[in-house]
């Protein structure tokens, strides 16, 4: 699947990358596994959201809204399946995140670490807000932040910083189209 996207505002050509599907699936599985494993050894790593970071990475890399939403849906549903809640909560939120992340990636150059950090920081809150809203609307659960506001900011910042390094690592697996 090749998607050539150009920013319409400044008419700059944006590079489109693709990742080997097997590697992509493997990376997604690793992210889900680590999300379940790491807190067992290091409880503080429960604040990290590796599936979200992987979703954003592939959405920004492929710059395809369809690809982004499907990747987001797949990772979200897998995350739901391994949890104890209803299946679809993370699927919906990550579908939306994947769609808009790919939309954003098709408009701005997201290879810069600073931009990546800002994007991840913003999408962390988008993801969290969507999840809470869906939980409130669909499941009638109270909207309660898992952390205090200050702590949630810190968690978002940590995820953003981690995303910078993670994306740099995952950039090795992408190939320019």
């Amino acid at each position: 699947m090749r998607v050539a996207v150009q920013t319409r505002a400044n008419k700059l050509a944006v590079e489109v990358y693709r990742v080997n599907p097997v590697v992509a699936v493997f990376i997604c599985l690793i992210a889900i596994l680590l999300q379940g494993y790491l807190p067992m050894w290091f409880p503080s790593t429960a604040a990290l959201d590796l599936p979200l970071l992987v979703t954003i990475f592939f959405a920004l890399t492929r710059r395809s809204q369809v690809g982004g939403l499907f990747i987001g849906a797949a990772i979200g549903l897998a995350q739901d399946s391994l949890g104890h809640g209803y299946i679809g909560m993370f699927g919906i939120t990550k579908t939306i995140v994947g769609y808009f992340a790919s939309s954003l990636g098709s408009r701005v150059d997201t290879d810069h670490p600073g931009i990546r950090m800002l994007v991840v920081f913003a999408f962390y809150y988008v993801h969290l807000g969507l999840f809470l809203v869906l939980q409130r609307v669909l499941l009638e659960k109270p909207m309660v932040l898992p952390y205090t506001p200050a702590r949630s900011v810190a968690v978002a910042a940590i995820n953003a910083v981690l995303a910078v390094f993670l994306f740099q690592f995952l950039d090795r697996f992408k190939k320019a189209v």
Partner: protein, 538 residues
């Protein structure tokens, strides 16, 4: 339409995907049912990877920890080995201390149950030669240890104090050839001296060949030696051989003489009854009761007359150990006998209440009250109960006449000859036995190292010779055929003829193995109706 679809394709796909997930979510919420298919798929995909990754991680971690990261392992191993050695030593020490605590607990129990006054001592050494069997204990004159005090354990007697030093004492073990103990066989009541033969055995002597002795018979102290209180276990018969006249009976001491660590020194001995053969395993509930077998000696046997309050309180049986009979503090066999006799006399008096005959014991004909004794005709028996040990006034005899090395008893005047202080002589009107300080009992105020106050021959323990009693004391009338007086015991005729020499020389005195007794003493236990008729009143 195609243009619209192609223009909004992505949005429509997003809406479609979201709608599908919303429907799925609504289905779960509405029906309260899961979507197992997705979960099964997800789990089926994830869990194998989890297993592989988990196994890999564990293998890597295990390899690292068990094979690679072995820094300081040798040092840690050495430290742990040292700690293991230290803990082992601690465990051994604690084990030894626990065993010592158990032994001391047994000693304490024994000391509590016994009526004798004892002092615990620790064995600190033994003789340097094989020819002399002596021990050293860590108590001496400062602990009021005196020569010829008995040294015992709950299992049996050990020996006697031979020499006393300050802070230590030398104990002559009963297996030493120079040692001697007045002993009796528990079942046949045969008396005889016990001599050490070296090694770990003793030999009981002067038991005629015609007497029946069996292997395993229990041997107890008879109290005749004035050192060991009566009723202490000595051991069991381990071999019997007929000799020219007397049996050669080897006795194995019941005390673990080669493993002694703590012993008890009898400061003030009290006679105890010889227990019957220990029952195999008494029921716990029944153990609290007082079985007839635990009652004192032949008195407590079934069918015996002595089943009254005098014999009621008895100690719990201790298999193979001393069984103190706790009737009353300081009460002896004779006290119990006298008490029973008094009850019997009272019953006889009640039966004769209508008659003019006096129930009181008449004074012996031709006897005159000794100075300081009660007048003739005084009822003797009631005084027994009032008589506490150590309150005996002078004027009563306590010893058997004719015994070398013992105080000679003479009617009325014996108290003057005896070394007993006024505090321990019986009041007038009491029986002789009641006035006798118990065997091994020390006379208060007597000089240290004195022989025990009741230094009479064994016959004095079981007999109450009228000849040695003041007038008015409990007397067995002449011609009482029921009295089965053993040889050497002073009976009714003892006043007229001297008692025969004792077969058993006191162990406290140098025993002469070549001096056979005139006749070995055998207590009368055949007639249960007359267990101890020597003191049986009319």
């Amino acid at each position: 339409m195609d243009t619209l679809f192609s223009r909004y394709r992505n949005v429509m796909l997003l809406v479609a995907v979201l709608f599908i997930q919303l429907v799925m979510l609504a289905f779960q919420v509405k029906r309260e049912r899961d979507v197992p298919l997705i979960r099964v798929w997800a789990v089926s995909v994830i869990t194998p990877i989890e297993k592989v990754s988990s196994g890999t991680v564990r293998a890597v971690v295990g390899t690292w920890q068990n094979y690679l990261d072995l820094r300081h392992t040798r040092q840690e191993n050495q430290t742990l080995s040292e700690e293991v050695h230290r803990l082992k030593l601690n465990a051994y020490q604690l084990h030894d201390e626990a065993q010592e605590a158990r032994r001391l607990e047994a000693l304490l129990d024994f000391k509590r149950e016994s009526q004798s006054e004892m002092a615990a001592a620790r064995v600190i050494g033994s003789s340097a030669s094989e020819t002399s069997r002596v021990l050293f204990i860590d108590r001496g004159s400062e602990a009021h240890i005196r020569r010829n005090m008995a040294v015992i354990t709950p299992d049996g007697i050990v020996g006697k104090v031979y020499r006393v030093f300050h802070g230590a004492s030398q104990v002559l073990v009963i297996t030493d050839p120079d040692s001697g103990v007045g002993a009796l066989l528990a079942d046949s009541r045969l008396h005889g001296p016990l001599r050490g033969v070296g090694g770990f055995f003793c030999q009981m002597r002067y038991i005629p060949n015609e007497e029946k002795v069996e292997l395993g018979d229990r041997v107890f102290t008879s109290g005749e030696d004035m050192i060991y209180p009566k009723g202490l276990p000595i051991g069991t018969v381990s071999s019997i051989r007929p000799g020219p006249v007397f049996k050669e009976i080897t006795v194995q001491p019941s005390a673990k003489l080669n493993r002694l660590e703590e012993v008890l020194v009898v400061l003030r001995g009290a006679d105890q009854e010889i227990p019957d053969k220990p029952e195999p395993a008494p029921a716990p509930a029944a153990a609290e009761e007082v079985p007839p077998a635990m009652l004192p000696g032949p008195i407590g046997k079934p069918g015996s007359e002595m089943t009254g309050p005098a014999a009621a309180p008895a100690a719990k049986p201790r298999e193979g150990k001393l069984m103190p009979v706790a009737t009353q503090p300081g009460e002896t066999d004779a006290d119990r006998l006298m008490l029973a006799a008094r009850e019997k006399a009272a019953a006889a008096a009640a039966a004769r209440a209508t008659g003019a005959a006096r129930p009181a014991t008449p004074p012996a004909a031709g006897q005159t009250p000794a100075p300081g004794t009660a007048p003739a005709g005084t009822q003797a028996l009631p005084a027994v109960k009032k008589t506490a040990p150590g309150t005996t006034p002078p004027g009563t005899a306590t010893a058997t006449p004719g015994m070398p090395g013992t105080a000679t008893g003479a009617p009325g005047a014996a108290g003057a000859k005896k070394t007993t202080s006024p505090a321990v002589t019986a009041p007038a009107g009491t029986s002789v036995r009641g006035a006798i300080p118990r065997v091994g009992e020390r006379v208060p105020g007597s000089p240290a190292g004195d022989t025990p106050a009741s230094a009479g021959a064994p016959a004095t323990k079981k007999t109450a010779a009228p000849a040695r009693k003041p007038a008015g004391t409990l007397a067995t009338p002449p011609g009482d055929n029921a009295v089965n007086t053993p040889a050497g015991a002073s009976s009714n005729g003892a006043a007229k003829k001297p008692a025969a020499p004792r077969a058993t020389p006191p162990a406290g005195t140098p025993a002469d193995p070549n001096a056979p007794p005139a006749a070995p003493k055998k207590k009368n236990t055949a007639d249960p109706q007359n267990p101890r008729p020597e003191v049986e009143p009319r």
